[in-house]
Each structure stands twice: as C-alpha cells, then as structure tokens.
Subunit: 321 residues, 2 copies
C-alpha cells in the first residue's frame, strides 16, 4: 500500500493499484484544446463566478476527460468535457451544503433540468444552467443514437436524484444504510454517466444482449465501485485536512458500522478498493480479448475510465486543502 | 359546459368536450381479464393492504387501461395495467400526504426504485414494491426495443421525481410557480408514461425525426396538458367534497394567481381544458391523415389516451367522496 501524507491528517493508507492499473496513464493530445474550449463555453454560459474556481474546474475537467478518453476525437471530447463541467458546476452551486440547508430549493432547481431532460422547451426565464443544459442535450441528440441519448439522459436524472438523496442525508447520516450509500455512489461520482457517454464519444454501440450480460455488467460495476471508493478516500482526506470531513463518506460509514477508528476504516476501504480493481482488471481483460469489436472498445473505455479516477484523486482539486 | 353536482360543493363547471372528444369511448373486450390478472398480480406482490382499496384500484386500472388501449392485445394490456397499478399504489402508499410529512423517507424509498431503473439488482431485503418493479422491468425489457425501454424508464424516473417535487411543496404551495406546476403535472398524472408505453403496448415505433417534430410534440403536449387539467378538476371537486381541497392543484393556483374565487378559477380552467382539447383534436387529426403507419398508430394512441382521462374523472375513485 502507498501512503499519503496530508496536512493535519495522520498518514492514511491508499489502495495499491500498481499491479492492476499501473501508470503512467495515456492522455489525449487535445487536452489544451479542450481546456481552451471550456473557457469559451463558460464565457457563453457563466455557470461559475469566481475566476479561480473557473480556472481550477476547467483544468481538472479538461485533463480528466483527456485521460478518460485518450484516443477520442476532439468533437466527442469537447461534448463530454462540457457535460462534466456542467455537472460539477451544478453540484458545486446547488448540491452538497447548499442543498442540505434547503432540499426544497434543490428540488425546484432540479425540476427545471428534469423538464429539459424530458424534452421540454427551456422556460422564458431560463438561467445559464438551463441554457447550458439545453445546449448540451441538443448536441448530444445530434451525435448519439436514440438509445444512447436516452441512456445518457437516464443517467443524468440519476445523478440529479443522487444529489437530492445526499441533500436529505447530510444532516442525518445515521439514517444511511451502507447498502443504499453504495447504490447511490456510482451516480453521484458520475461514473455511470461516463460509462454511458463512452459509446457516444468513441462512436461504438454495444449489442443489447452483451450489454445485459454478466461479462459487461460485472466490470462496469467494479469500475463504478472503484470510482466511488477512490473519490471517497480522496475527498475524506481533503476534507479532514480542512477539519470538516464529510459525514456522508464511505470512511465515516465504515467507522460507524464497524465501531472502528479512522485509520482502520481507511485500511478496510483501501483493501476493498484493491478488490474492486482486481475484479475490474479481470473483467476488462476478458472483454478485451473477445472477438467482438464493440466489446473490445468497451473494455478500452472501462480501462481508461478507471484510470481517470485513479488520476483524479491526485489532482489539485483534491490535494489542495 | 356541462356541470357536475357533488355533495358539499357548489355546482362547478366542467369543460365541454362533447365536440372535440365525443363519447361513448371504445373499450377493450379484455377488461375483465385484465382485472382478474391484476387481482392475481396483487396477490403475488401485496402492494396494498385493505381489500376495499385493492378492489377499487384493480377496477379503475383495468377499465382505464381497457379504454386507453381499446385495440391492444391482452399481453400488452396486462403489462400496462400492472405498471399503472404499481405507480398508483406507490403514490397512494408513499406519496402525497405521507411524503409531505417526511420527504427524506420518500427519497429513501425512491432510491430503491432508481437503483432498479438504473439496472441494479434487487436488494436482499427487497419489499413487494421493489420486487414488483423488478418483475415489471424484466417484462418490459423483453417486450420493448432498447430505446422504448429507456424511454419508459426515463418517464418512470420523472414520475418519481414529480412525487418528490410534490412532497416538498404540499406544505408551502405559495412557493410554487404556475409554470413549474404545469411542467411537473404531465409526469405526476402519468400521461407522459402512457404516451411512452403506447408504442410498447401497440407494437409500433415512431421514426426519431417524426418524434421530435412539432407535428408529434404538439398533440402530445396538448393531450398531456388536458390530462393534468382534467385530473385536477376531478380531484379538486372530490377533495372539496371531503372538505380538504388539495392546495397543489391548478384551481388553487389560479385563485392565487388571479385573486379570484373558486367558481371563477374553475371556469377559467374549464375553458383552458377546452382549448387543450381543441389543440389535441387538431394535431391528432393531422397525424391520423398522414401517410405514415406509425404516425397513424400514434394518432390513435393519443386519441384513446385522451379519452381515458375524460372517462377517468367520472369513475368511482373520483366521484365517491
């Protein structure tokens, strides 16, 4: 296991993924181009006020997406980057602490998004988040097949619901069952959306039979679980360094469930992460050696999605206290 | 305009739909068979306790679905009926007043549904609602194309979100803007789900280009708006007769927006209903005379869906105080 030393926090174990997902991870040559585009898109749709927040977010989204789909063409990358910028900015603006203070306000905000996701027209008084989402959905519809569009918009609804779920539980984490937390996490960490977006960005389509098979579902779930867990380890460490660890976090849930201290919970989570990584690696390798081109492409997508989450937890957004 | 005389309520005007949607409405010869099936399905998945509530619900769902799709084959009708039984029982059990008391509880309940809608496995401790939904989704997946399945499951998410939206606003209806209410209503009245289910029940598929055209969207929206409005007129009269009119209702919203009394608001809503009906009639007639078979089938579906809502407001569930 590797260890991470953060200000104000005891050295906490991180999962050792050096054998399952060894770096360095490939990245797209278009990262700078994506970042420049994101700046322009944010100028058109001013989702975030402070210039510092804009720059940091554009940087992590551009470089994250460049690692998520290192072989993709620029037009697909840019669509994916805009979508993830929107989701992250929405969560930063309306989710988390802001939402916990008034879930009803978040419900009203999300209702506008649901209206657009359900093919409604933007309202006359649409703000930048509605306008930007409308722009995204129009572009997504142009690029995706009908099923791909519906799959992605289904995932977006689940992300928004996940934010609501979090908003209702931040204040009462004792009501949260581990099982429910683990079910919601792949949505709020956006990995399910990324998996759905992969086909649109990389232009392939899984046959329906394969999509619903254990051979595809198992590595998808393992990557999804790994992504949530890595994000939790990273964010818990970051929040702890600020002195306000998030109570809705796998680490906190483990300490409560197992009546243990933080380092013990961290170690348990790290081991779990190694198990998810091993399951993902096994399933991805099997898909990669199938004789179906879309399954091979899906294996490649799952691999780079996993790598992007591993890369993310070392990015400034997470390591800066 | 026709008038309806209900115990304890002044005579309130209802929209005159005798020229746009004249009855009597055709009904399926399989209504009794559907009703018998629903009884068995509720035996397998005990969603409702009181035998009286079961009987009433099975009756209205069976006869409603028989009018919604009068020409459909029994297997499609039965799937649709189970789905609508589930939605209605879920709302009766967890939505409305129960939810307003604890939106967080409804969020937790819905989370289990979202998990299944997002292809998750049923949990070990799944209750009858989860098990019944899993059964429905399995059957829907077998019968529908991938896009149809995703379209219906997207609608189901919107219905569940609509229940949450309602739960957050029942206690503070003054925060509700008319625009938002009208956007949510087609989801909570289940008409958007019915429109999506129609293709699965009647086995046709709209070409994507047609689906996104004004020629299809306009009558769909008119039927959706008409359905919500009729349901509001019916339920307001029913609740008023009990002395507890629902504050989240078009009538209440009109009285607040226009500072008018109930009969004036009712008259305004009735006129609006007539306008929606005229728009729906015009759009349906245009679709019905197109030279595309799926557009003609869609016209037929929209027509009978509209008729089923007109029929519904006279059913016992609404007229019994």
């Amino acid at each position: 296991m590797t260890t991470t030393d953060r200000t104000g926090v005891a050295t906490l174990p991180m999962p050792d993924l050096s054998r399952t997902f060894p770096g360095p991870f490939p990245t797209s040559p278009h990262a700078d181009r994506i970042q420049a585009h994101l700046g322009q898109w944010l100028h058109r749709f001013p989702l975030l006020g402070p210039p510092d927040a804009r720059r940091t977010l554009c940087d992590i989204v551009a470089h994250g997406v460049a690692r998520t789909f290192p072989t993709a063409e620029p037009d697909g990358l840019v669509l994916c980057a805009d979508l993830f910028l929107w989701l992250t900015a929405f969560d930063d603006t309306y989710g988390e602490a802001a939402a916990a203070g008034s879930p009803a306000r978040l419900v009203r905000r999300i209702q506008g998004c649901v209206h657009l996701l359900a093919d409604g027209e933007p309202p006359g008084d649409a703000g930048p988040f509605d306008e930007a989402l409308h722009d995204l959905l129009t572009r997504l519809r142009t690029r995706a097949t009908a099923a791909q569009y519906l799959r992605v918009t289904g995932c977006l609804r689940d992300v928004l619901f996940g934010m609501l779920w979090e908003a209702h539980h931040l204040a009462e984490p004792d009501h949260v069952r581990m099982h429910d937390y683990l079910a919601v996490r792949p949505h709020t960490v956006l990995v399910r959306t990324l998996i759905a977006v992969a086909e649109v960005v990389l232009r392939y389509e899984l046959p329906e039979e394969a999509r619903n098979s254990p051979a595809v579902r198992q590595p998808e779930s393992a990557v999804a679980d790994l992504a949530g867990l890595l994000n939790d380890l990273g964010s818990y460490a970051r929040e702890s360094a600020k002195g306000v660890p998030n109570s809705l976090n796998l680490i906190s849930l483990i300490t409560r469930a197992q009546h243990c201290d933080i380092p013990t919970a961290y170690a348990a989570a790290a081991r779990l992460g190694e198990e998810h990584a091993a399951t993902a690696r096994h399933g991805i390798d099997r898909l990669a050696t199938s004789d179906s081109a879309p399954l091979q492409q899906h294996a490649e997508a799952l691999e780079s999605i996993a790598c992007s989450y591993i890369w993310h937890i070392d990015h400034a957004r997470y390591t800066k206290a």
